[in-house]
Amino acid sequence: MPKLPGLVKGLGVTLNTLVRTTTKGSNTIQYPHEKEAPPIRARGVIALREDNCTSCMLCARSCPDWCIYIEGHKELAPPRRAGGKPRQVNKLDRFDIDYALCMYCGICVEVCPFDALFWSPEYEYSEPHIADLLHDKNKLGEWMETVPEAPALEAGAEKKGKK
């Protein structure tokens, strides 16, 4: 078979794509009308489970961008067992993540020893004003609804009880 000139082959490629897009549909989706589901592990936004947080400051200290602000105070809580002493617990006053600074590295989620921070694949939270990207603890708590279960692992993986 004689070699086709590259110019003709190139035309063939584009025509081929034209036909394929016409018959099989395009590779793009029309964003606001239809949405792609991000994978489970996608690092979209950080959710906070406030009950678990002991304001230990680990996340704020390990954040490379210094974008987590925590304030807390100590408080007396009713004893666990009847007749025991009242416990002293750390109560969270402020937990802010500044998403204008955050670089989505996930170190805070990893270092959290009490399972208070989670990744959610949610991504639609852009704001007209940059100051609104500072999410306070209520807003971070709302993201908890969108946190999915961790995915199953590929064959051969060592099972671990870690989150």
Binding site: L11, T14, T17, R20, T21, T22, S26, T28, Q30
Partner: protein, 351 residues
Amino acid sequence: MNALLAADLPYWAQSLLRVLGGIVAVLLPAGTIVYVFLFKMMSFMQSRLGPMEAGPYGSLQLVAEVGKWLQKEDITPERADRFIFKIAPLVVLASTFLLVAVVPFGPDAWFTNFEAGVFYMLAVSSVSVLGILIAGWASANKYSLLGGLRAAGQLIAYELPMVLAVIGVIIQAGTMNLQQIVVAQNAGSIFGWDGLGNPYILTQFVGFIIFMIAVQAELTQTPFDMPIAESELVSGYMTEYSGFRFLTFFIAEFATAGVFALIASVLFLGGWGIPFAWFDWSTIDSVDDWMNVVGPLIMVTKMMLLAFIIMWVRFSYPRFREDQLQRFAWKALVPISLVNIMVTAILKVAF
């Protein structure tokens, strides 16, 4: 139609009709080409859908775009040559309107019908070079200047092959009147067989290819888009234009594509006509009046076909370098078209 355009109407009404017709004949193909090819075909060739929001399937996108451009500020660079800078896009657009004036759309549907039609067509098509050159110069921008100079060099280099390619057609038709060329193609026959008439794309195939290459260069479409060359010269001579003036350039670009496709269909594909043998017509006077309505439709079909090829090539190829283009024009196209003329002339005399 015949009655409408004939002398029944006063002169001013005839003129008005022609002007309106001209505007439609320029803007309608331009809009169609932009939507069908630039927006949709290009997107589909790239596995995407293109504009989908404005109107059904994005069909009103062009209207939205025009609206956007009209709103934009009309910026003139501080050091630009203001007057020339401002008229440059109009000069380019004027060339398009002058071109469409000689294109026949039907046996009686024409704007002007004069003997040296081909000659006129080739002459006014180079007016756009002037516009581009002064746009490049007046912008006071190095990229624009380079783009303008490239455009001038390129358009001049490709005028010649275009002229030479058309000479073959002129020899074969024996006339420079575009209307007569259409008739000659449809009334003609290839070695006595007149089932298809004699569209010159068959007998003048080499000429057709050269003409289309030259058109591609004349329109500064890829692979000959060095004057605009987005990745090198930002936008070439159009860099400094914004708003309405950029829109004018844009319309001119695609309107000229449409008009050149029309002209190519007149010269090589038999224009508005269908082979006369089908209806036992012999001359232009015996053509039925309904061809004045069907003719333009046939023309538009052929135009879209040619515009498809122009755009298809545009979306598939990378661009040449300026010196390669010049070499290609002078060392390949000009000699080939000269040989083509010679062969055509010999055959013409022989048969």
